[in-house]
């Protein structure tokens, strides 16, 4: 029995039935990490000692006959932009290479209280800026389906770790598609919750009005289970919403007969690979088989979402990243006076993509351009939100590809920032509107996974889980794993 292939739901049963211990489970994952990391490189930091210590505590609890929670004793990992007290948190940046937070992110605390076993911190595009994890200052993460290809980004480490079974599940963050696009590229389930559903406290900010934390999991049930643990109001985050948090698993297994699915035609424009589009249309057929009603619809301002996003996100990032100045924490370069110290620190501590966005954002906010760029983009944001509001007057869920293509090769897009930005074209509008979006495995093109993107009304993650689960159980794509043989061919096992 390869226990690393199992879902959190399955592992919980095994723990409760005492068929395995959390310590055995944790060892199994740490072993696998050791064997695969040379190729996948999903982890920036592995916290084996503290993981085994936590596992022993959970085992002791089980031995005492106490009941354990659903996620208790189960190994997982966090994207390295979520602060963990006493464990270095780098954002895959030279700037924070040595940074050890004196506090933990709210999600880290909630998972710790749920008994999760933290295996380590996961690689990402530096400060979550990128769509391939090539912008990590340490090393790129490889796609377990094809090691020559990127895992997507910026939560590339999170998606790859789950796909390669180096963690049962992971938390990523999504500002313009950073959970969903890598989930699609790596063939796992990735949820970007409604803005305000999951606390951002302790998430190192990229673009505050767009960032959300969410789970990357092997299947839809696990995703709902992790959401149960992390979602809900947090008074430390002023943008966190008080809402009636449901048990997200209650939506699993509900049939989708009569459910209305809108397919915005703007999401199938040029740039969308025709093979990817075909997989999505097959998915639509499958959903219709299950009784859903699907039809084309229109979100007329979709084309304006990307340019608006590439003004708003950099503007916020230019301000959020101002604090990295070499004074209080992080990298510091030598300089004759304060200004030269700060300018050198930031020149050396940040990579090119981060600097590019800081430059763009600073420019968009600067005097004389603020109205033309920033305010204009915020007005466009209003129009995009209105598009969604209108569509959700008719449809329960909207559907699109998650990404226009399957995972691309290293270096393929890294020389042209704009072409890289366009890989988020289907996911970005969702962040601008603050609504939830999920990517689930929907098939393959050339042996590489394709993600189906479902978008829902604000705080209606439940319906997304309902549709996603029905689709998953009907098609079974989530059960196809990157083959051990293929991985072995690259010398992984």
């Amino acid at each position: 029995m390869d226990i690393t292939a199992k879902t959190a739901g399955e592992l919980h049963d095994l723990l409760v039935q005492k068929e395995i211990t959390s310590t055995e489970l944790t060892h199994a994952f740490l072993d696998r990490v050791r064997r695969l990391e040379g190729q996948v490189q999903a982890y920036v930091t592995v916290t084996d000692k503290s993981a085994l210590k936590r596992a022993a505590e959970v085992d002791a609890k089980i031995a005492r006959g106490e009941a354990i929670g659903t996620l208790e004793g189960i190994p997982m990992a966090l994207k390295d932009n979520m602060c963990t007290e006493g464990i270095r948190t780098t954002c895959s940046s030279k700037m924070l290479e040595e940074f050890v937070p004196p506090y933990s992110a709210e999600v880290a605390i909630r998972l710790q209280e749920a008994g999760a076993i933290l295996l380590g911190k996961l690689n990402m595009d530096e400060f979550a800026m990128g769509s391939s994890t090539e912008n990590s200052r340490f090393f790129p993460t490889h796609n377990p389906w094809d090691l020559e290809r990127v895992p997507g980004g910026s939560s590339g480490g999170a998606a790859a770790s789950v796909a390669a079974a180096e963690a049962v599940y992971a938390l990523g963050s999504d500002t313009g598609g950073s959970i969903r696009q890598p989930a699609a590229f790596c063939g796992v389930v990735g949820m970007k919750p409604t803005y305000g559903a999951v606390s951002r406290y302790g998430l190192i900010a990229f673009a505050s009005s767009l960032d959300q934390i969410g789970p990357l999991t092997k299947d839809v049930r696990d995703n709902a289970l992790v959401m149960n643990a992390i979602a809900g109001h947090d008074r430390k985050d002023s943008t966190s919403v008080r809402f009636d948090k449901p048990d997200y698993t209650q939506f699993l297994g509900k049939n989708i007969k009569g459910l209305k699915i809108g397919i915005p035609r703007e999401y199938f424009g040029e740039g969308i690979d025709s093979d990817v589009a075909k997989v999505i249309w097959d998915a639509v057929a499958a959903l219709k088989d299950l009784g859903a009603e699907a039809e084309e619809c229109s979100l007329p301002h979709t084309d304006y979402a990307m340019p608006a996003y590439y003004l708003i996100a950099p503007a916020e990032c230019s301000s959020n990243l101002a604090r990295y100045d070499g004074v209080r924490y992080g990298y510091r370069a030598e300089g004759d006076d304060l200004i030269s110290m700060v300018r050198k620190t930031r020149a050396e501590g940040f990579g090119p993509e981060v600097k590019r966005r800081i430059m763009l954002g600073t420019y968009a906010l600067s005097s004389g351009y603020y109205d033309a760029y920033y305010v204009k983009a915020q007005k466009v944001r209003t129009l995009i939100k209105q598009d969604f509001d209108q569509a959700f007057g008719t449809y329960d869920v909207l559907l699109s590809p998650t990404a226009p293509t399957v995972a691309f090769k290293f270096g393929e897009k890294s020389s042209n920032p704009l072409s890289m930005y366009l890989s988020d074209i289907c996911t970005v509008p969702v962040n601008l509107a603050g609504i939830p979006g999920i990517s689930i495995p929907a098939g393959f093109v050339g042996g590489l996974p394709v993600g189906l993107h479902l978008m829902g009304k604000a705080f209606d993650e439940g319906t997304l889980y309902q549709v996603a689960y029905a689709f998953e159980q009907h098609t079974g794509f989530h059960k196809v794993k990157p083959s051990t043989k293929e991985v072995a061919a690259h010398g992984l096992e």
Binding site: N81, M82, C83, T89, C91, L96, F99, P101, P102, Y103, A105, R200, Y201, G202, L203, I204, A205, A207, S208, S209, R235, K236, D237, S238, T239, A315, E316, S318, S319, A322, R323, D325, V327, R328, Y329, L338, I339, V342, T362, L365, S366, S367, Y370, Y374
Partner: protein, 482 residues
């Protein structure tokens, strides 16, 4: 010839007031003054990666209260913005402040200079966070090789109050600032401890030829923290600008700093870019919607303000000057009012408060709030004088003892045996002894020299160490000698 014969001064002031909350604006750290460096600091106010702010409700309450006391309009919708600039005392390298939708707009207050009343406009008042403190290795920032940063003050809540450029003389500026601080003190929006930097003034001043209406180029001198330094700084800066203009040169628009030691303002122009603060709405905080019921609830907590109080004192028969001194701080006026509730003669009370009481505070370098004498204790002392238990002269000494020991007047009088001898039998004996000892004076008096009785009274007072009741002594002497 003074510059004021040629030029007219135009001045507006930005005042930063520390709001009297227990905790900081966006985190739970204490706002207490002092403390060892970097000990009133948490993840949030030190700007660690990933932290988020949560607004302190009391900051909004106090800002509304100040806005009402300054006759301003309280916004129905208000929001926070980020003001982006790099400085090491600013942990996030942006200050969370308010830009286009401040909590209060269009206020005013009234000043009186040389008997003339004038209304000074208040453009706006907005909430923001304070920065930290820099300590320099050398004497000044420019002569230092390195600086040290203490973030204890970062995140202390401030209200920035911006006046209209309505001020036309240094006297008006000082009157405006005094009046403003009084109002903030009365409303207890701030503890107004100027010496601790809880109120700071930025002075914008320009000159223009008399009779013209275009504004001249202004300079801004930042971070003055006393009325005296505002006065001295403005005397210097107006003189300096006048000399520049007289020489046919142009005043440079710039930020300057006041060097208290040298008594000059110094340009802070850096080689750096002109300021471009790149304000944008703070995404980590949500807007404020201020219902009118909230505003009315706060309006009901407004106390009697200094102007109303001065008028009440004047109606008790006090002079305008006395009423002004008594209302100069809320603490003093409260002290006076409490004493007045026990001792009804406002004039006598005023003489004692403004005379002996303030003299003692000044001599001990203490404020009314630190006074060891309570208003009730002062009232009791005055009652004892009225009852004839002690003379006014002795009462001054008693007040000093009260100040030193905190004891009640009656106890001090008893312990020190200071009570006046009002016992007729005891005094009569002394009177007879004195008459017997000074036959010449007795003869002089009987011969019609009225003044001789003064000598005899003096002798009796001497014999009783001043404790004899003077009116009783007079009465007894006259009886015996008639």
């Amino acid at each position: 010839m003074a510059w004021s014969d040629t030029y007219e001064m135009v001045c507006g002031v930005e005042t930063h007031v520390e709001l009297a909350t227990k905790s900081k604006i966006f985190c739970g750290c204490t706002t207490e003054f002092g403390g060892e460096q970097n000990t009133h600091v948490c993840a949030v106010c030190s700007g660690l990666p990933g932290v988020l702010p949560v607004l302190n409700k009391e900051v909004v309450n106090l800002a509304i209260k100040a806005g009402l006391a300054l006759n301003g309009e309280i916004a129905e919708f208000s929001k926070f913005d980020r003001k982006n600039y790099y400085y090491p005392d600013l942990p996030k390298n942006y200050q969370t402040s308010q830009y286009d939708l401040p909590i209060c707009k269009n206020g005013w207050l009234e000043i009186t200079v040389d008997g003339a009343k004038k209304r000074i406009g208040i453009t706006r008042a907005h909430m923001e966070e304070d920065a930290g403190k820099l300590v320099h290795s050398g004497e000044t920032i420019t002569s230092s090789d390195e600086s040290y940063v203490d973030y204890n003050r970062t995140g202390v809540p401030l209200l920035e109050i911006v006046s209209e450029p309505d001020l036309r003389s240094i006297a008006e500026v000082v009157a405006y600032l005094e009046q403003l601080v009084q109002i903030l003190d009365y409303t207890q929006v701030s503890d107004c401890r100027l010496e601790q930097g809880s109120v700071r003034f930025d002075i914008n001043v320009s000159l223009r030829p008399k009779g013209t209406s275009d504004l001249g180029t202004r300079t801004e001198t930042k971070n003055l923290n006393s009325f005296a330094s505002v006065r001295h700084c403005m005397e210097y800066e107006t003189e300096r600008q006048a000399e520049v203009l007289d020489a046919g040169d142009k005043v440079v628009q710039e930020t300057r700093t006041w060097d208290e030691g040298k008594g000059i303002t110094i340009s802070l122009r850096s080689k750096e870019e002109a300021h471009d603060y790149r304000y944008f709405p703070e995404p980590d905080l949500v807007p404020l919607v201020i219902e009118r019921s909230w505003v009315e609830e706060i309006r009901r907590t407004l106390p009697e303000l200094p102007t109303e109080r001065r008028m009440r004192y004047e109606s008790l028969g006090l002079s305008e000057y006395d009423a002004g001194v008594l209302t100069s701080s809320r603490a003093l006026a409260d002290f006076f009012d409490e004493a007045l509730s026990r001792y009804a003669d406002a004039k006598i009370l005023t003489n004692w408060v403004m005379g002996e009481f303030l003299r003692l505070l000044k001599a001990n370098q203490q404020s009314v709030l630190d006074s060891p004498i309570s208003p009730v204790q002062l009232a009791e002392l005055l009652e004892l004088i009225d009852k004839g238990s002690i003379s006014g002269k002795i009462a001054k000494g008693v007040l000093e003892d009260m100040y030193a020991t905190g004891k009640d007047a009656a106890l001090i009088i008893k312990e020190k045996g200071l009570g006046q001898i009002s016992d007729e039998a005891a005094l009569a004996e002394i009177v007879e002894q004195v008459i017997a000892a000074h036959p010449q004076s007795v003869e002089d008096y009987r011969a019609g020299k009225e003044r001789a009785i003064g000598f005899l009274v003096g002798q009796i007072m001497k014999a009783t160490k001043g404790q004899a009741n003077p009116s009783l002594v007079n009465k007894l002497l006259k009886e015996k000698l008639s």
